[in-house]
Amino acid sequence: MKKFLAQAYLWILLVLLYAPLFFIGIFSFTESRVLGNWTGFSTKLYANLFSGSMQGSGSLISAVENTLLIAVVSAFVSMMLGTIAAVGIHNLRGRKKQAVSFLNNIPMINPDVITGVSLFLLFVFLHFSQGYLTVILAHISFGTPYVVLSVLPKLRQMNPNIYEAALDLGATPRQALWKVLVPQLRPGMVSGFFLAFTMSLDDFAVTFFTRGTIGLDTLSTYIYTDARKGGLTPELRPLMTLIFLIILILLVIINVRQEKMNKSTSK
């Protein structure tokens, strides 16, 4: 009985949490321009989305492309920078380690608006013209801390003697790096990459302040402008539905990986 009540509570919360997402998902399968008006099952919105045959399609498609480009580039750079940083932080001691860890926490505590405004002021101050590069730099700045936090636990689990042993057995530092260190850190690097990637996909406020006035739109700034004009472009419904699904699948993959890793390390 207690278990039943507990499960019922969880599922009622989940239904409430997901109601709007289901709502968008269901109405992505009808043609009506107005949301909430069911005019029969149709996959036309999906077809429009993929063939690009809709009003203002060019800008929506380029917004999707920009979003992905920015997310991939910034997550990749975050992964490299964050992994190298994690090795450094792992080997720091005392005050220095505390200071760098504190630095690493700042972007995660800062609300988006503050990060956005502060970077906007930076680029104004440096007379840096805003566009792709500034958005990517901004996304690297809030994505890298997540990589650092994903890689550090892997370094703690690692036996430091393995790397030294490789060197003693005649491996060059480069070989030891690629054959010993990187394979051990890879799971943390991959999780970190996906974290930085989703943070970048999610971002609205920071992009909004750092994209400048060259008309650069990511999906979230596109949606913002679109919604302010009154009513969402119908093709956004299938697009949002697909994004929900992709993120759900990514999360399940990351969690299954983590589960496996936890099992293999606890053995």
């Binding site: 507990a6 499960q7 509570y9 969880l10 919360l13 989940l14 949490l17 709007p20 997402l21 709502f23 968008i24 949301l35 909430g36 920078l81 190298i84 940083a85 090795v87 450094g88 932080i89 080997n91 720091l92 001691r93 220095k96 630095l103 700042i106 972007p107 505590i109 800062n110 609300p111 988006d112 608006v113 503050i114 405004v117 502060s118 970077l119 002021l121 930076l122 730099l137 690297i140 700045s141 890298t144 650092v148 936090l149 994903s150 999610d202 406020a205 302040f209 979230s220 949606i223 913002y224 969402l232 949002m240 994004i243 929900f244 993120i247 759900l248 990514l250 999360l251 969690n255 983590q258």
Partner: protein, 257 residues
């Protein structure tokens, strides 16, 4: 000089100095400057005589407190059930609760607003709170779940053996031990609620603005100094709230997914 492994952190420290520390210092610099670059306190004093900004500030704090309280009330039981192996064994429900954290808040908010519209519910304070709880509940559940999940069960068992009722065990053992999770949840819900922009407008049909929107409006209309002053005021509040919760937060962290 020999390259030590600890030197590997240098590129990152330099990067963070330029893209995190310097920008925050610039907020400070702009906040205390007038348009021509002279030192002034007028941006700060302007806030305290700007009834529009003060009103928005008060409303933001009020909404944020209400949102935080509702999130604790709804989220704590959920986190407790999720962490309790007798009541919930499914990893899927945990993923389902965490997943919304990774979806664009703007998209989720628009979906919520559209749902309210379709159901014929008038957008206003009520829908704002509902939408905010909807946006931030996962951020409350997750840290509390994390702490409860790692908690040493022997304290609760010991209390039980010594004759405490389940209710006493919950209030005297479980809740105090999960405080780090609660405070880190408060940190992840309270400040972001105060600072959201766009979200409150969509959920109230432009009837209610929150503090983040005021900052954004000033920056976008080139009132950089006043916008920076408002951001500075928010930074002070963040500083104060992290002083209260900062130490606990590190314990609750551990792995983000």
């Amino acid at each position: 000089m020999k390259l030590k492994r600890s030197h590997w952190s240098i590129p990152y420290v330099v990067f963070m100095a330029i893209f995190v520390v310097l920008p925050l210092l610039l907020i400070l610099v702009y906040a205390f400057q007038d348009g021509s670059g002279h030192f002034t306190l007028s941006n700060i004093t302007r806030f305290f005589s700007d009834s529009d900004a003060l009103g928005t500030f008060a409303v933001s704090i009020e909404v944020a407190i209400e949102n935080t309280l509702i999130c604790i009330l709804l989220g704590y039981p959920a986190a407790w059930i999720l962490a309790n192996k007798d009541l919930n064994r499914s990893a899927v429900t945990i993923i389902l609760f965490i997943m919304p954290m990774w979806i664009n808040a703007l998209m989720r908010t628009l979906a919520t607003a559209e749902l309210f519209n379709t159901l014929g519910i008038t957008l206003g304070k009520g829908t704002l709170l509902f939408g905010m709880v909807y946006d931030y509940l996962p951020f409350m559940i997750y840290p509390i779940y994390n702490v409860l999940n790692k908690m040493d069960k022997s304290y609760a068992e010991a209390a039980q053996d010594l004759g405490a009722t389940p209710w006493q065990v919950f209030w005297k053992i479980t809740v105090p031990l999960s405080m780090p999770g609660i405070s880190s949840g408060v940190l992840m819900v309270f400040m972001p609620t105060v600072s959201t922009f766009a979200i409150s407008e969509f959920l109230t049909n432009n009837k209610i603005k929150l503090f983040g929107t005021i900052i954004q409006e000033n920056i976008n209309s080139s009132m950089w100094n006043y916008g920076a002053a408002l951001a500075f005021i928010m930074l002070i509040i963040i500083g104060i709230s992290t002083l209260f919760t900062g130490d606990d937060e590190r314990e609750a962290e551990g792995g983000l997914i």
